[in-house]
């Protein structure tokens, strides 16, 4: 399993297309920095094949005032959870 880090909003960058195309069926994606806006319900359609495999970093949601606005399509984790994900993944790939 590979962990993919995405730090761009799906509405301001198309790098998400490359990230999604590169993902295997068991891979996970963690949204960080401006990427956490992908947790908004309106952005859920971008991640429709990632049920249960999409995460967003709590600290970056809080700093953007988005923590209470996330949809069901994303699991919120904190930086300790970020470490967990890197432990569980064989590799981590950053998309930016």
């Amino acid at each position: 399993m590979i962990l993919h880090l995405l730090n761009r909003s799906p509405v301001t960058s198309r790098v998400i297309d490359d990230a999604l195309a590169a993902m295997g069926p068991d891979d996970r994606m963690l949204l960080i920095e401006d990427g956490v806006s992908g947790g908004l319900p309106a952005q859920a359609l971008f991640f429709k094949n990632l049920a249960g495999r999409l995460f967003a970093l709590r600290e970056d949601l809080v700093s953007r005032g988005l923590l209470e606005r996330c949809g069901e399509h994303v699991t919120i984790i904190d930086v300790e959870g970020f470490v967990d994900l890197t432990e569980e993944a064989n590799k981590t790939v950053s998309w930016y």
Binding site: N7, I32, E33, D60, V79, E80, V83, T86, T92, S94
Partner: protein, 130 residues
């Protein structure tokens, strides 16, 4: 596990350095070994010796130094990226005929080969980019 981080974002211009430092502390808190941080591209500015942010803001350079002092983390700076941006240790400054120097221990100028090596010799390599 042995972790290495790659930091490619400039301090105070993108979130990358802050994200990396926050993750670094969490890795250590978990009991892992944060063996190496490699600074590349604008990330090399994290090593600026004369960096002096306002006192009520996080001092990224000191944050990295603390990781070295308390946990032995190696702080490696790409020499090619550093020299281009005016980040020279005493030896390089003398070699290039410059007055003064802008980088000092525990930061260490090193080649890109060290980054490749880090990819092989650590269990995890995590990249933080702008």
């Amino acid at each position: 596990m042995r972790y290495a981080l790659l930091v490619q974002g400039g301090p105070y211009s993108s979130q990358a350095s802050h994200s990396a430092l926050r993750f670094a502390r969490a890795v250590i808190e978990r009991g892992h070994c944060l063996a190496t941080v490699f600074f590349y591209h604008d990330g090399v500015y994290n090593a600026a010796r004369l960096s002096a942010p306002p006192q009520d803001e996080p001092h990224l350079g000191d944050g990295w130094r603390l990781l070295h002092d308390e946990h032995g983390t190696e702080l490696l700076v790409c020499i090619a990226a550093g020299l281009r941006r005016g980040l020279l240790d005493q030896r390089e400054a003398a070699r290039h005929g410059k007055e003064g120097y802008s980088l000092e221990e525990p930061f260490e100028l090193t080649g890109l080969g060290q980054l490749v090596e880090a990819g092989f010799s650590h269990d995890r390599l995590i990249t933080f980019s702008p």
